[in-house]
């Protein structure tokens, strides 16, 4: 999970701005190709703090922004359903990226140190439709921003408000969410006490809330549904970037019906091999964590899906085997097409988990680097 989000921040932040500019003008053209190295050369790393050693997390301060780091995100996903069983997946993600390391005092209230962008997606499983939208605004003048206490992250009318519960609101083009998320299980510090290494030189600070009881309303296709279910939230901030030979990742966040959660990611390298910094965490019912050794874990793609928009072929369906954790899971997308088309293209979608042929849970999968190398 770490790696996926770091990559998104690092690679997507700058690209998102570019892509944002591109989408309406040339709706069918591919997003601009840019190497990670190029993308990351926006604001140089120099001048920003780096995640190199484990730190002491302080809450609620760490729920808020960390402007001394270059990038940061607040990542909500979840699977919910209406009383009559209509299922939805949702994603609402806020990203912060610094515009410049040095922020001289300026007179204009428009002068911004950061810009914020957000992705919002709804997977309408019964309707067979996937909706994705994006917004972007500078972190100035109240157009967008983040605060720790009271907790708030927002861009225009899209927002996450309050900590317990957190109210998520977003709407665009006839689709909307208005959900309340209770914290649920305690905070999970990922990696080494919250320091998540993604390559030899690079790391981020990373914590998660892995099972947040969720209720509220979802509006799709002109109809509103009362829904309930559970969500997953990731918080991560860093300055450093990917290694040049890392091309993409497959990331899984699964909530099992037996009360455990699995976070697992695999970084793919240019030569097709799996990067040794790939990692996983198993969260027990009581919230205690254990590392899933990737050396013995196996992620086998069982199906493929080709995007009609990008022409990219994504894996679609997996078998996850981690003998040391006692896991042998089947993971299946609830919709084949859950590719976000918000300038930058990636697949992020709701999945169901089966074990021994029986329903065993649900979650979210993120697949990047298939449309174009990152």
């Amino acid at each position: 999970m770490t790696m996926g989000r770091i990559l998104i921040i690092a690679g997507v932040a700058v690209l998102a701005v570019a892509a944002w500019m591109w989408t309406v003008r040339t709706p069918v053209a591919p997003a601009p190709a840019a190497s990670v190295a190029a993308a990351l050369s926006g604001p140089a790393e120099a001048g920003f703090a780096r995640a190199s050693d484990p730190r002491e997390f302080r809450f609620p301060a760490d729920h808020g922004p960390h402007p001394e780091f270059r990038s940061e995100w607040w990542y909500y996903t979840g699977v919910v359903s209406s009383p009559d069983g209509r299922r939805f997946g949702y994603q609402l993600t806020f990203f912060r990226v610094a515009i410049t390391a040095d922020a001289p005092a300026r007179a204009s209230a428009w002068a911004a140190h950061d810009l914020y962008f957000a992705h919002f997606a709804i997977s309408d499983i019964a309707g067979g439709k996937f909706h994705s939208h994006a917004v972007i605004a500078r972190g100035a003048l109240g157009l967008s921003g983040a605060a720790a206490d009271p907790y708030r992250v927002w861009i225009d009318r899209w927002s996450a408000d309050g900590w317990s519960p957190t109210r998520l609101r977003a709407d665009a083009d006839g689709v909307a969410i208005d959900l309340a998320l209770a914290p649920g299980k305690p905070v999970v510090l990922e990696g080494d006490h919250g320091l998540s290494r993604k390559s030899a030189d690079n790391a981020s600070y990373y914590y998660s809330l892995t099972r947040m009881p969720t209720s509220g309303r979802i509006t799709v296709g002109g109809a509103s549904y009362d829904v309930s279910g559970s969500s997953w939230m990731d918080r991560e901030w860093s300055t450093s970037a990917l290694a040049p030979d890392q091309v993409g990742w497959d990331w899984f966040s699964l909530q099992l019906d037996d009360g455990r959660e699995v976070m697992l990611y695999r970084i793919r390298r240019g030569d097709g091999s799996v990067d040794p910094f790939s990692s996983g965490t198993l969260i027990a019912v009581d919230g205690s964590t254990s590392v899933i050794a990737m050396s013995e874990a196996e992620i086998i793609a069982t199906g493929r899906w080709k995007s009609p928009r990008s022409g990219a072929t994504y894996p679609s369906g997996w078998r996850l085997v981690a003998p040391s954790a006692g896991l042998d899971l089947e993971v299946r997308p609830l919709l084949a097409d859950q590719e976000l088309d918000v300038g930058f293209r990636y697949w992020e979608g709701a999945v169901e988990v089966r074990s021994g042929g029986r329903p065993a849970g649900h979650g979210y999968v993120e697949l990047t680097g298939y449309d174009q190398p990152l």
Partner: protein, 863 residues
């Protein structure tokens, strides 16, 4: 005759007609050339001016459209701007409608005098739906692609993005410094991104735009916390937009409104130019008429024979019209091509004037839209065919049997003259009625002007005949038989000379009329400047051109520093603002004017005695004559304005003379302005020198007080001089048009004399046989030309004066709203006579020499 005899005959006759025509045209290359040149000049003029105006308008519309992008509406700030917080509120209330804030201002480049860039401060992240070419800061040359270019623009406090072509033109690259002058200060910007606009329109629209982040714009323009306008994309009749509470002083306008408002400003100016260009075409019509009637008259005999041989009227008419069409087509083609060339030259002058008087416009290339070319070509062909219509009518009325000679025609023309004159009088009367009844219409004004000219032209044959008849005895007594003959021949050849005189009269009168109008206007302007410019030194932010919108005020505190400078006895400050009214934005000037300056306002209505106390009291305003005209305002009426304290009616207590703004100005006292608006800026100030201080000393003292602020300073004398330079530049184009109209008229008289000379070859031959010397022949031709020219010159004076009156009292008033008294300059009248005389004598040289040098036997033999 065996098969289809009728058809065979038709074909034979048509061919015969064609051959006859061709032979004829070949025999008179001069006449043909003149007709072609006449049409070419007329069409060239109208095409050139039309294209130049179209290009300047297109350039302007594109730059506005480019900057407005895909916005459907704009919320435009009043004089005080829109507070940032209001933008935030509006963005939220209108969400999810797209909104984009803009802070913009024209800035000049110290390194490129005369070059103006529109500094446009935007939020790049809000730009995408509006101006994708601004947001999509294209391949920046640097690493990181578009996104990082936008981030550099946002993250660099002095960062600017330019179109790549503009950067190349200015010799800049990524990282270069670009110094801009804003108001009194020069600020360095750094080029952090280069724009690659895909579409040609965006490319042209962006050529003069410097894109900066809105934070940068607010800071360098010293408008922190204020926004100039908010662009909105909303569907028609959007309820959210309709329900929106507007910020104080702001108004909601459709996106096209600004273009329309600015187009409206220049409409009268363009209309006047077009009218002048059409004048050239009308004179060109005389040439075609001249040529075609000559060709018809020459062939009356031939036409008679052809009619006897069975040619129908239709065939004869068709042949002549065909001939005219060929000449017209050649002339039109040459004219259109020449017009495209002329437009390249004219556009510079026209845009200069528009920039001088109205708003900045830069034309990169002259557009050559097919539609405009077609229209001008049609105009040329139409003029040709109309001009050819009369001779055709004449030719087809000829009865086949009657091989009518010149004498018949001439006697007929002479007989017709009174009728023509009567219709002329009627036309003049009609023009008078049209002017009286048409209210404020400029077009009707011009139409009446044209009718007046044509009516006067119709008087010419009658007046020429009468005049020649009157002076013949005098001439006979003075110059002997040749002089008397010359006078008689003017009457004897009335069908030729009448038209030539008419053409010459029109050209000469146009020249005199426009000259008198410009001269009178200039005199009134000088008088007004003398009355108005009471201060010794005038100070404003330096700018290459008048900035209409987004004016940069003088920096805070500067006015106070200047007022305290040694050598200052008194100061008058001025603030230009553009509040909105039900009739759109108006030009409001806030003055703090002390008693001793009251004399610089010349009241046309209202009394200074009662006006000034009311003005100072703050509820009353003064309006200028053009404002009163355009808004039908008068003392006792009021001006409704949107202020920062709500909408308010201000009573009008005086209408004053003003030539500085043809849209009109409303003057308000500074105290009242401060009460009703939050804006505390000053646009300019003027100063009176203390006793014993020269203007030069005062200027250096003010300059010292200004410190690092650069100021444009003018002494009374230099401001006066500069105003007159702008005036002269504005009317320079009328000078060009006068010269061209004169050239066309000269060609007209040349053609008339040339055709006369050819027609009268036999007569002259006989005279030579009877002992006339070549000198006497030349004297006869020259004398006739002199009489023609003299008549034309003298007859042009009344028309010229009438024209100047109509131009001043009707056209100028309706176009620009101001009036001025016409003062006739006798010297100009004399000049008109001399010019007409010179033109005719010059035109006579060639025909006279030709006739005088031809041996009489050769002439007679050829006949």
């Amino acid at each position: 005759m065996v098969v289809e005899p009728e058809r065979a005959k038709d074909v034979g006759l048509s061919r015969l007609l064609l051959l006859a025509n061709l032979r004829h045209l070949k025999r008179h290359p001069w006449i043909v050339a003149l007709a072609v040149i006449g049409i070419a000049l007329g069409v060239g003029m109208s095409t050139g001016i039309d294209l130049a105006i179209a290009s300047s308008r297109r350039a302007f519309a594109e730059s506005v459209a480019g900057v407005a992008g895909r916005a459907t509406h704009q919320i435009v700030a009043g004089p005080s701007g829109i507070p940032d917080a209001e933008y935030l509120r509006i963005r939220r209330e209108l969400s999810p409608l797209a909104t984009a804030p803009v802070v913009a201002c024209d800035v000049s480049l110290p390194s490129r005098p005369g070059r103006i860039l529109q500094l446009t401060g935007v939020d790049p992240l809000s730009e995408q739906p509006f101006r994708p070419y601004v947001g999509g800061v294209g391949s920046s040359g640097g690493s990181g692609g578009a996104g990082s270019a936008v981030m550099r623009l946002m993250g660099t406090p002095d960062g600017v993005a330019l179109l790549r072509a503009t950067a190349d033109e200015l010799g800049l690259e990524l990282g270069s410094e670009l110094a801009i002058r804003i108001g009194t200060r020069t600020r360095p910007l750094r080029v952090v991104a280069l724009l690659d606009a895909g579409e040609a329109m965006a490319r042209r629209a962006l050529a003069d735009v410097a894109v900066v982040d809105i934070s940068t714009a607010q800071e360098i323009l010293e408008r922190v916390g204020r926004i100039d306008r908010i662009d909105v994309i909303a569907p028609e009749d959007d309820r959210r937009l309709a329900a929106l509470a507007l910020p104080a002083g702001a108004e909601l306008v459709p996106a096209g409104a600004r273009t329309a408002a600015l187009e409206q400003m220049t409409r009268a100016f363009h209309l006047n130019l077009t009218a002048l260009s059409l004048l050239a075409l009308v004179v060109g019509m005389f040439l075609i008429y001249n040529t075609m009637s000559f060709l018809v008259v020459q062939r009356r005999e031939l036409i008679g024979h052809l009619r006897l041989a069975g040619a129908t009227r239709g065939q004869v008419a068709g042949a002549i019209i065909g001939e005219a069409a060929v000449l017209g087509a050649i002339g039109t083609a040459i004219g259109v091509i020449a017009g495209i060339g002329a437009a390249q030259v004219l556009v510079a002058g026209i845009t200069r004037t528009v920039s001088d008087l109205y708003f900045v416009v830069a034309v990169r290339d002259v557009a050559v839209p097919i539609g405009h070319l077609a229209l001008n070509a049609a105009l040329g062909m139409g003029a040709t065919l109309i001009a050819a219509g009369i001779p055709v009518w004449e030719a087809t009325r000829t009865r086949p049997a009657a091989a009518v000679g010149r004498s018949t025609i001439e006697s007929k023309t002479l007989r017709l003259a009174p009728w023509l004159a009567a219709s002329g009088v009627a036309a003049i009367a009609l023009a008078g009625v049209a002017i009286a009844c048409s209210g404020r219409s400029i077009i009707v004004g011009f139409a009446a002007l044209a009718v007046l000219i044509l009516g006067y032209a119709a008087l010419m044959p009658m007046l020429v005949a009468l005049g020649a008849w009157t002076i013949r005895p005098l001439l006979g007594w003075l110059g002997g038989p040749i002089a008397a003959m010359a006078a008689r021949s003017v009457v004897a050849t009335l069908s030729r000379t009448g038209v030539a005189v008419a053409a010459l009269v029109i050209a000469s009168a146009a020249s005199l009329g426009v000259g008198t109008m410009v001269g009178s206007f200039r005199a009134s302007l000088i008088e007004w400047l003398d009355a108005t410019l009471r201060s010794d030194v005038y100070v404003s932010p330096p700018r290459a051109v008048p900035a209409r919108f987004g004016e940069v005020p003088l920096p805070d505190g500067l006015v106070e520093r200047l007022a305290a400078a040694p050598g200052v006895r008194a100061m008058v400050t001025k603030r230009d603002a553009h509040p909105s009214t039900p009739e759109g934005r108006i030009d409001l000037v806030a003055f703090d004017v002390s008693d001793e300056f009251h004399g610089s306002f010349r009241f046309l209505s209202g009394t200074p005695k009662s006006a000034w106390p009311a003005f100072r009291g703050g509820e009353a305003v003064l309006v200028t004559e053009p404002y009163a005209f355009h808004h039908q305002a008068r003392v006792g009426g009021s001006v409704w304005m949107r202020t920062d304290r709500g909408d308010h009616d201000f009573a009008i207590v005086g209408v004053i003379k003003d030539y500085s703004n043809d849209r009109g100005t409303v003057f308000i006292s500074r105290a009242a302005y401060d009460r009703w608006w939050d804006d505390r800026g000053f646009s300019a100030a003027s100063f009176l020198a203390a006793e014993g201080t020269t203007p030069e000393q005062l200027m250096s003292s003010l300059r010292a007080a200004a410190g690092s602020d650069e100021l444009a300073m003018s002494s009374n004398a230099s401001l006066r001089r500069d105003s007159l330079i702008v005036f002269d530049r504005t009317f320079a184009i009328t000078g060009v048009i006068r010269i061209l109209a004169g050239a066309v008229a000269f060609l007209g008289i040349l053609g008339a004399l040339l055709s006369l000379a050819l027609e009268r070859a036999r007569e002259i031959g006989l005279m030579r046989m009877h002992g006339c010397t070549p000198g006497q022949v030349a004297a006869l031709i020259g004398g006739q030309a002199a009489i023609t020219g003299l008549f034309a010159g003298v007859l042009s004076i009344p028309l010229g004066i009438a024209l100047s009156e109509v131009l001043a009292l009707v056209i100028n008033r309706r176009s620009f709203g101001w009036t001025f008294a016409i003062s006739v300059d006798p010297w100009l009248c004399l000049q008109a006579v001399a010019l007409a005389l010179a033109a005719s004598l010059l035109a006579a040289i060639h025909p006279a020499r030709r006739l005088a040098s031809t041996p009489p036997a050769a002439v007679l033999r050829r006949e």
